[in-house]
């Protein structure tokens, strides 16, 4: 795995809030495929975009992004 990988929980947050990729992309002012690439971990956002994503979901940025993989729901803590 690339040592510069940034893990994120955009898919989970989006599903939880019932927001489509296109809606999120429109709110952030990015192409909807960019949201898809972010979710797949193939693109790491700039600090500005990361903060705007966190702001959109109204959570701290560390809830959305992490340098370590997020624990699976129901997995051991």
């Amino acid at each position: 795995m690339d040592k510069e990988t940034v893990y994120n929980r955009i898919t989970v947050l989006r599903a939880e809030r019932g927001v489509s990729r296109r809606d999120l992309a429109a709110a952030l002012g990015v192409h909807y495929q960019t949201v898809g690439y972010l979710e797949r971990g193939e693109y790491s956002p700039s600090l500005h975009l990361a903060l705007r994503i966190a702001d959109y979901f109204e959570v701290p940025v560390e809830v959305v992004f992490s340098l370590k993989p997020f624990p699976r729901i129901g997995g051991t803590p």
Binding site: S20, R21, R22, G29, V30, H31, Y32, Q33, T34, V35, G36, Y37, E39, R40, E42, Y43, P45, S46, L49
Partner: protein, 190 residues
């Protein structure tokens, strides 16, 4: 800038943005599903590179045999192939990359700008190699010094091939470097 000019500019930008969004949805709808995979995309990029190469072959042929009827026939055949194959190919490449190399910077997001920068950087390096190769080949081919006779057609075709390479190489590179698009959610489909 007066407020009227600013308003007109803003209106014009909005109209262009709406037109581009509609065009992109249409391209999305018409894009064959096979281009979601890397191999068919790279085959298309390779076809683009071969078409560019054809222009260089044409220039070389003109250098060797122009002025002659054969050179004119070769030129016409290459021109025909460019119109019949090159133009539709270029259109497909633009649609596939969603105009990545042609759009204005403010119409792209940060990921697209990064992808464009990467494509332009690679294409710039490749163009440098092409120009250096042309320089070496012309130096090697032109051995008569002051007596040398370079056909005007060949000179024109070399410059034309350089111009077309300069314009289209970033598009070909951008297609080659594209990663598979994410699978769309059902609610994401336009």
């Amino acid at each position: 800038m007066t407020s009227k000019t600013a308003q007109w500019l803003e209106r014009s930008r909005r109209k262009r943005s709406d037109r581009l969004a509609a065009l992109e949805d249409e391209m999305e709808r018409r894009m064959p599903a096979r281009y979601a995979r890397r191999r068919p995309r790279r085959v298309l990029a390779g076809a683009g590179a071969v078409t560019l190469g054809l222009l260089w072959v044409d220039a070389a042929v003109s250098w060797v045999i122009a002025p002659s009827d054969t050179a004119v026939i070769v030129n016409l055949v290459v021109l025909g192939v460019l119109v019949a194959v090159g133009l539709p190919l270029a259109t497909q490449l633009v649609a596939l990359t969603r105009g990545l190399t042609a759009k204005r910077a403010r119409e792209l997001d940060e990921r697209q700008l990064t992808a464009r920068l990467r494509a332009f950087a690679t294409a710039h390096r490749a163009s440098t190699v092409v120009i250096a190769a042309v320089l070496l080949v012309t130096m090697a081919a032109d051995r008569d010094g002051r007596e040398s006779q370079i056909p005007g057609a060949a000179l024109f075709l070399i410059l034309f091939a350089l111009l077309v390479t300069h314009i289209f190489l970033p598009l070909i590179v951008a297609t080659w470097q594209m990663t598979d698009p994410p699978i769309e959610d059902d609610e994401d489909r336009p």
